[in-house]
Amino acid sequence: MTFWLLLTVNSVTFGGLLFLLSAGFSLIFGLMRIPNLTHGSMFMVGAYLGSTFLGGALGFTLDFWAAAIISALEVAVLGALMERLLLRRLAGQQLAQVLVTLGVSFMVADLCLMGWGGDPISVSTPAGLGGFVRVGLAVFPLYRMAVIGIAVVFAIALWLMLERTRLGAMIRAGVDDPQMARVVGIRVSRLFTIVFGLGAGLAGFAGMIGAPILSVYPGLDQDMLPLALVVVILGGTGSLLGSFLGSIVVGFIYNFGQALLPELAYFVLFLPMVLVLVLRPQGLFGGRLL
């Protein structure tokens, strides 16, 4: 019984982390129609930067949450720069854009190795969240519960942003029909930069939020990117609700797969992605944005 309870709690928390990672990925995919293969790198850079701020790289040690926000902002700027300087030159050539993101992910991985070395960095849990609460047989690790809370808050905030703001309306228009959006006077190119920066920032934030659980190590990017891909393919590109549901589903598959089918853990993780792509390319939860 403890087994099922512990793994269920863990699946939901991992799903929350995956949502933070893949929401931005999904927005970018929906709007620009490309899988951003640097998304895992952004996650890793966010975690590395955040862990460095925690260690006092700015001359003073930052609070965990402040470090997470600052590193997210920095990664957002990096993402926006990448869109402006590289992807913009290849506007309209989706394949070339994908290849560029692939090349950049090589470069980022090696830059991180240069900057932080190959030794994994463990990030301590923020103050006050180190323990756990026991309710009957179930154990709820505090920090992991906080991750779920953060994911829900972000889901609501993103939903409000998309639904209630002008920017959100423009993004929705761009996802639905970029040509038409341009015709009605939306500066789609600027929108691309904003969304790319936003998506990268979310990934960077997720990286720091995930760091106390996963630690930060070379190859973290390659571990997380395929997970984001699975989530977005299952959920449908550009769909916020799809990302959320997809994240929870993948959280469960990932955790229970490792525990119950260790030999086939990755098979059961990626097979749904293949099946969805082959049989239902719009995603399990429809192709709409919300």
């Binding site: 129609r33 070339a96 240069m114 390659q222 098979f267 990626f270």
Partner: protein, 355 residues
């Protein structure tokens, strides 16, 4: 086209005498690696270059054949059984890949192949009872066809060279065949090809199978070269490196993937071992050397940067790109000779390759 024939003969002679010119075992081995990766890149190029389908899962196919041959050898079968069986298993996996991935094209094709590649990698990594996971599988012998042992670096190079030449020749024949022409048609105008009565799916399927054949062969050579196989050889990075070879050299050309394979292998192995001596009170030259040392050591960064630069500035790849630049330079030189220096040379015809 006699000039072309002469070039081909010269190239073959050059490749044959490589182990006599470079006698050091280490560099002969590097040359073998270049050839075996060139076979891999040629296989991937059939899809990327001629069919316009970008696969990010080819390392998975490569791995199926690798693991098949390693598993069979470890189980006690001889080379004569293991090699054909591994090719067969590789082709079977290719057929499954193709049947699933060819439901889509463009970005979706990339995603499906990526997921399939990850599945194969995941099995290699975690299906311990068959693959031994991280421990990998050791292969202790290389075959000795016709009594010629491949255990020495030179013997292995010669065998790889023969297979490489066969791979190039068969690729050339494939590309020039009606099937190859039809394949290019499906790349550029799939709908029109369909309307003209071509079976687009079947053409692509055949191309995929040919690609899978070359990939499987390179996978088997890889196992014999390393005498070892482990999941790292199947990772997403390996697929990406294959793509890097094809795109950087020039997709849709025969020479391009070979040049790309050489570029990647050399950057990875040779350049990463170069080291300038830096004196401790640094002068400017020492600073430059210091930076170069850093770049050499970080070949992954270097490869990524080369890749990005090629995609952005020379999208057709190094081989066609340099040919274009050379032609443009030649034309400019000729124009300026013909007593019209004021007239600027027209911009070089940029290859409009909408991939």
């Amino acid at each position: 086209m006699t000039g072309r024939r002469i070039a081909i003969v010269v190239a073959i002679i050059g490749l044959v005498i490589v182990p006599y010119v470079i006698t050091e075992v280490y560099y002969v081995n590097i040359a073998s690696q270049i050839l075996l990766y060139a076979i891999f890149a040629l296989g991937l190029n059939v899809l990327v270059g001629y069919a316009g389908l970008v696969s990010l899962g080819h390392a998975g196919l490569f791995g199926v054949a690798s693991y098949a041959v390693a598993y069979l050898l470890a189980a006690g079968f001889g080379h004569a059984v293991a090699i054909p069986a591994a090719i067969g298993i590789g082709l079977l996996a290719t057929a499954v890949f193709a049947a699933l991935a060819l439901r889509a094209s463009g970005i979706s094709f990339i995603m499906i192949t990526l997921a399939l590649g990850e599945i194969i990698w995941g099995l290699a990594y975690r299906w311990i009872s068959v693959t031994h996971g991280d421990n990998g599988i050791n292969v202790t012998t290389r075959p000795a066809p016709f009594g010629l042992p491949l255990s020495s670096a030179r013997g292995f190079y010669d065998a790889t060279l023969i297979i490489f030449l066969l791979a190039v020749a068969s690729s050339a024949i494939f590309v020039r065949s009606p099937l190859g022409a039809a394949l290019c048609g499906t790349r550029d105008q799939p709908r029109r090809m369909n309307a003209l009565g071509f079976h687009v799916w079947m053409i692509r399927f055949m191309a995929f199978m040919f690609s899978g054949l070359l990939t499987s062969i390179s996978g088997i050579l890889f196992v014999y070269y390393n005498e070892f196989i482990s999941p790292q050889a199947l990772a997403l990075t390996a697929s990406a490196e294959g793509l890097l070879m094809v795109i950087s050299g020039g997709a849709g050309t025969l020479l391009g993937p070979v040049v790309g394979a050489a570029l990647v292998v050399i950057v990875k192995n040779v350049v990463s071992g170069l080291r300038f001596t830096v004196l401790s009170p640094m002068g400017f030259a020492d600073l430059v050397k210091f930076v170069l040392n850093g770049l050499f050591q970080h070949w992954n960064f270097l490869l990524g940067a080369i890749f990005v630069a090629i995609v952005v500035f020379m999208p057709e790849g190094l081989v066609p790109g340099s040919v274009r630049l050379a032609r443009a330079a030649w034309r400019t030189a000729n124009r300026s000779k013909s007593a019209r220096p004021a007239a600027a040379a027209p911009p070089a015809p940029v290859a409009e390759q909408k991939r």
